[in-house]
Point group: C2
Chain length 201, copies 2
DNA sequence: AACAGCCCATGACATCTGTCACGCCGGGGT
DNA sequence: ACCCCGGCGTGACAGATGTCATGGGCTGTT
């Protein structure tokens, strides 16, 4: 029996995944959590073989949860599962020690297959996404530029960003200008979009 | 037996939903589609009692698919299911003749319960979301303002918007200014965010 | 020690953006 | 017939934004 831990903030899809995986004779869902910071505790308690983590979760994000899990419960292998095939997500997931990466566009068979393969010690990655990840490369943004873009996501003025980050307005504009240049965008909003779609935020 | 049609672009959650609903003794999933424009054809073929439609789908959106379905297959009742609890989505779903509205944060029990209630002729709506929908009210935006904001989502300059909509730059700025005022925002990006979160796009 | 890279800041400049006033047109209302 | 509202456009103006040059402080590398 492969013991599986599920982490997804949406109760409906979490329950549905549990029902689907429960249909497999060799798979058993031993824990379900709805937030990233519950993952480690649940894994300690139930000692699953495989953890299926969503990226988007309230509180601690699925990728950092994966990293923590690898440290504290090394026996548990991790599959990261996400709605968006952002290249940066794959890179960060692999850097966090994940053994598998599955997009929610995949078929149910691919998911259970991924669980079995990962449990067997293999790595599972969507080849198309891997190629895109290599093509996109890793983030050209510096830490500060990333911060600025992240805060700029909800569309405030430069003054707002400066206040939020405790910076001078001129500095914010410089960081924004650099980020716009590096992302190949021509507007702040465009830069935010590019960075977000690439998984750089 | 309640015959159910599933429509969701993400194969994984679609399959998982099917597995979950299939566990119920009185529910049978008779069709699964991945796009809005396949809904009507599949419903004609399989004559389901209840259709579970996601809002976000490639091609035809789940809300317009709901409206078409109500027209062409009146015997099939509709539940709209979405990731985001946007007030405007609820309003549009009800306007499209949907009998139920379920957010993906709900529990699995709530979903199967909704299927049964809707099949029994009742209406099912999350009360909290209904309250928020009433509070938000319906879109204050005119058609053109909505169009402009929709195009402005991917962050182009005014010139880009004008070209895309075949309008004068001044007109675009006027519409944007009006939209910003009506949404209570102070930036174009903020206005886009507000309108999007309210389900007005 | 010299160097490169990043962060922070300032000042200046051209351009873009948001706002306002105004006008024209067409389709509903009463 | 009238008025109101929405769409479209122009012109003008203050303020915000993006770009550039420049400089100081800091860290890590060679």
């Amino acid at each position: 029996m492969i013991k599986v831990l599920l982490a997804d903030d949406q109760a409906l899809v979490r329950g549905a995944f549990a029902a689907m995986l429960g249909l497999e004779p060799d798979i058993e869902v031993v824990a379900q959590v709805s937030a990233g910071d519950e993952v480690v505790a649940a894994a300690r308690r139930t000692e699953p073989h495989v953890a299926l983590l969503d990226v988007q979760m309230p509180g601690v994000d699925g990728l950092t949860a994966a990293a923590e899990l690898r440290k504290t419960v090394p026996g548990c292998r991790v599959i990261v599962c996400t709605t968006f095939g952002r290249p940066g997500y794959l890179a960060r997931a692999m850097a966090a020690g994940a053994a598998g990466f599955v997009v929610k566009d995949a078929t149910p068979e691919q998911l259970v297959d991924a669980v079995r393969r990962v449990h067997a010690g293999l790595r599972v990655v969507d080849p198309a996404l891997a190629a895109e990840s290599l093509a996109t490369g890793h983030s050209p943004l510096t830490d500060r530029e990333r911060d600025v873009l992240a805060v700029a996501r909800d569309g405030g003025t430069v003054a707002d960003l400066a206040k939020a980050l405790h910076l001078s307005e001129g500095t914010v504009r410089n960081h924004l200008s650099a980020a716009i240049g590096k992302t190949g965008a021509r507007t702040r909003a465009e830069a935010v979009r590019v960075a977000e779609d690439s998984g750089w935020l």
